[in-house]
Subunit: 222 residues, 2 copies
DNA sequence: GCCGACTCGGGAGTTTCTCCCGAGTAAAAT
DNA sequence: ATTTTACTCGGGAGAAACTCCCGAGTCGGC
């Protein structure tokens, strides 16, 4: 490892950035060369300044950390990204790793752990903080990624009209209102629904709603 | 205002606490006398040390910041609590204020803004960071609180059996399975459902699911 | 042209839901 | 001790929603 590793910090919480900076600055091997509070400026800075490691949050307005990772790796394949997230679930972890992140660190964990993670990434290792999800193997990661992409793909494989109907179905309007909105009969809406349920292999309404939430079609207030 | 205001910081993210401490320590009027990383120890520290202001996050395992506020105000009505949250929606804000918080600050906002808020609370003012929800009047706050409590109350006004059926309805099991689980006929489950929908003034399945999510009956993956 | 995919909806049957009602039961009130 | 009240269970009848199967019209592509 070089004796000087440059870092870019991307997080939409100024206070959190302060904390991270305070912790990292203790270790003289690291130098924070820039920070950003949203994904777009973060991506711009990363491509311009080419830091050794880009440390980014996931949940941000506009470009989120995962999308940022994806784009940055597309532009600069050798760039190293470490995710710093509140989410310790497999879905987020696997999406991040799949997007090309080298590390997945948790905001809940101790400063020492975070430094450990950054150091590992600087040394070209892959680091996943397993504090809350102890049993992450590359297989389970793969499975989760697959599941998520399959959900997304399954939805995208619906015809345009079916997608439109599905979006209507998971809104709080009645079938009649939806039919009217789409200028078809209630019967047709029902038929589309039937096809959608079959194509997505769902049985009950709540499964449809969960599916819609999973692929970001509807909000689930946090 | 006293020339020295004591603070207790409660947040489950060590790094965030670091950032907050770094920012607050710049202002010599404040002294951080303790910190905690979960609600229960936070509550214990608050009652023992009686800080002038308890600064707490909302989302924490076990006792969350709102529940902590409620309990602390019950024990020490003169204690002042400032919430520091990522959520800028009315529901959270109003629940917090209703629980007895004196301030509602956002993690997204600038260090200066956070200091401003703490200062205001120290001066016995009520401070709500309106950065992302500009139009918060006491009326809208009241309405939201009312809405939330009415939902909760409406659910509690269901009979025990109805609550049981409702919990079953929002799980991913079929009517038949639910009927079998409750040792009644499908017909009875249907009748209960009908009564539930009428009592809660709901029309569609998705409304039922949203309602269940609102009162914390089911998880909505974050 | 003709093929395939998409969209729309009818027919027929099934499941689910609503609304109304009565029976059994257990606790609370008088 | 009897009445009242609330709750639970389910039947009946009809409405609404859903499924599965099918045919017709449309449109872009080979």
């Amino acid at each position: 490892m070089k004796d000087h590793t440059t870092l870019l910090i991307i997080d939409d919480h100024p206070l959190f950035r302060e904390g991270l900076k305070a912790v990292i600055q203790i270790d003289r091997r690291f130098e924070i060369i820039a920070e950003a509070d949203d994904g777009l400026t973060g991506l711009k800075l990363a491509t311009e300044l080419k830091p050794d490691i880009t440390l980014t949050n996931i949940s941000m307005l506009g470009i989120d950390g995962i999308e940022l990772t994806r784009r940055l790796k597309a532009l600069l394949p050798k760039a190293k990204v470490a995710i710093l997230s509140t989410h310790s679930d497999l879905t987020h972890i696997s999406l991040a790793m799949h997007a090309g992140a080298s590390g997945y660190l948790l905001k809940h964990s101790s400063p020492a752990k975070v430094l450990e993670g950054i150091t590992a990434v600087a040394n070209n290792q892959t680091f996943i903080d397993k504090t809350t999800s102890p049993s992450i193997s590359s297989e389970t990661l793969g499975v989760k990624v697959l599941e998520h992409y399959e959900s997304q793909r399954a939805y995208e494989n619906l015809t345009p009209r079916e997608q439109q109907v599905m979006r209507g179905l998971v809104e709080e309007i009645t079938r009649d209102e939806l039919a009217e909105k789409l200028s078809v009969t209630t019967k047709t809406v029902g038929n589309h629904r039937s096809n959608i349920m079959r194509k997505l292999a769902l049985k009950r309404e709540i499964e449809l709603i969960r599916f819609a939430a999973k692929i970001g079609l509807i909000e689930t207030n946090p």
